[in-house]
Amino acid sequence: MKQMTEQELQQKSVQYRKNIIKYIYGAKAGHTGGSLSCVDILNVLYNYVLNVGPENFDSPDRDRYIQSKGHTVEALFVVLADKGFFPESDLETMSQYKSHYIGHPTRKVNGVEQNTGALGHGLSLSVGTALAAKMDARDYRVFTLLGDGELPEGSNWEAALTASHYKLDNLCAIIDHNKLQITASTKEVCDTNPIDDKFESFGWAVRHVDGHDIGQLKEAFDAMPFEAGKPSLIIAHTVKGKGISYMENVLKWHHGVPSEEQYAAAMEELDQVMATL
């Protein structure tokens, strides 16, 4: 894979944000805030970390990315389209009758590894996938993205135990730590802090990064496994709605759809950022 410069990656992030807004606006549905908070992570994964593309998607040695927070599928679709898994124009059918581009990832869409959307499944699926690599002595690595509001699902903690028990240092979980869920902040709904201590005591190696800083994300992924014989956790500090000022940290944009004026304002703001890059 030809390495992209940091500037190219930054441009990708802005383009992805524009596409997320465009297709959510078109479908009149989608998980806007959480797509915007995780898209820089997906950008670095798909354009820097993962050895995955349409050309090798049937290879048993490909890296796997499993999106546990399936509701922010728009970010995934936009990135997969850019990688050439399907024509971007397919996304014009999002959420329509008979379209495979529904509100959560499904394997009917080329490039999607697992059908997610019920929270609390991605980590167990990833543990199994990573364990198989160890069993077969394969080199692929497994990445999964969790929401911070998703952490109270008990299955996550069961999977965290299995991951360290089997010393899955080929596994990396990323938490999109945007501090919000649907009802309120994660702190008010069910306080999971300190997340790092919890995972460390479960046998994981943990790092904190700014989840919108391409350089920090690259560095963290480069350092994987953070400790030999341990699964890696990246706590990515992010902003829900990142990049569209009126959406940032505002609860209702969890699944808010922009009006015509809001759509225009969002596009203008992103165009301005693009012009500076």
């Binding site: 399936g70 009758y97 379209s99 959560h104 509001g149 109270p152 699902e153 008990g154 709904v189």
Partner: protein, 322 residues
């Protein structure tokens, strides 16, 4: 008894809205009423409930198994607990808690399955509950209810609150017209409501499919002179065997309709009772077939599988021709 379909159709609210307002009325006079949510108070329309009764709502976070277990514990010491979560997660993820902590241990939790069936439309199969009647029917000691209209919803919520038994009550979020004038309506768990009487065929429907069944009956009457009895079988378990016996005795065909997979739901419950009691009426189950569910909105999915005025009318005509 006259259905109001051709008269004043009260537009109706979403049953979800009626659930929320009914629960607020109950909570105002009964401090033991507690709502338990899993980051679901917005989707359960319980934000005003939380504002008015902050001491009567327990937020669990996204952890449905824990939600049901905690609800059972609260109920065991006398709280009147409504555990409110999307029907799909409540009845799939937390099934063991429902089986052991609620039903088997006889803790009278009222499990409220919101946005049931295919209400979540294009969010896809993870968010659909097409299995809930089937899995819960196979568990002893839980009453299963799918109210069709606002009247049934308010009655079901109020009567369940007063009951000492475990319940599962599921509904959608689409506005539902009133099926009958309130003055002609009554509601009792385990007793089907005859919405309209007819001579040629019986429709037994539940939840949000009762209304299209009623529309289909009107269409058949107008276009083909076929007259159908329409029943809202709001209680899936215990099933109204007396009413089934009565309609079977006419010898006329029976068509069941539900927003559920064709396996294990209302239709098979009716068929099982009828065939084991010597009734051999022509019989057809309409629902979602055993396949990868078509994608789209709830309306798209209903249209695709014929759970509509014209789809139900067409199946009825076919059944009558056999």
């Amino acid at each position: 008894m006259g259905a109001i379909i051709d008269k004043e159709i009260e537009t109706g609210k979403a049953n979800l809205e009626v659930f929320s307002s009914t629960l607020q009325e109950l909570a105002a006079t009964d401090r033991d009423i507690v709502a338990v949510t899993s980051d679901s108070r917005g989707s359960g329309k319980l934000v005003p409930f939380g504002q008015k009764f902050p001491k009567q709502i327990v937020e669990i976070g996204i952890a449905e198994q824990n939600l049901v277990g905690v609800a059972a514990g609260l109920a065991s010491v006398g709280k009147k607990v409504f555990a409110v979560s999307p029907a799909c997660f409540l009845t799939a993820r937390a099934l063991e808690q429902i089986k052991n902590d609620v039903a088997y241990s006889d803790n009278p939790v009222k499990l409220i399955g919101i946005s049931a069936g295919v209400s979540y439309g294009a969010l896809g199969t993870t968010h659909h509950s097409l299995h809930d009647f089937a899995v819960l029917r196979a568990i002893n000691n839980i009453i299963i209810v799918a109210p069709a209209d606002n009247f049934e919803t308010e009655q079901a919520i109020a009567q369940a609150a007063a009951s000492e038994q475990p319940f599962y009550i599921r509904f959608g979020k689409k506005p539902m017209p009133l099926l009958q004038p309130r003055s002609e309506s009554s509601f009792e768990f385990g007793k089907g409501r005859v919405i309209k009487e007819g001579d040629d065929i019986t429709f037994i429907a539940t939840g949000e499919t009762v209304y299209p069944a009623l529309q289909a009956a009107a269409k058949l009457e107008k276009e083909q002179g076929i007259s159908a009895t329409v029943i809202s079988m709001h209680t899936i378990k215990p099933l109204d065997h007396d009413l089934l016996t009565k309609v079977a005795a006419t010898g006329k065909p029976i068509l069941t309709v539900e927003e559920h997979m064709v396996y294990g739901g209302l239709g098979e419950a009716c068929a099982s009772y009828l065939i084991q009691n010597g009734h051999h009426n022509r019989f057809k189950i309409m629902g979602i077939p055993d396949e990868y569910t078509v994608t789209g909105s709830q309306n798209d999915i209903f249209n695709h599988y014929g759970l509509t005025e014209s789809g139900i009318a067409a199946e009825a005509a076919k059944l009558l021709e056999k």
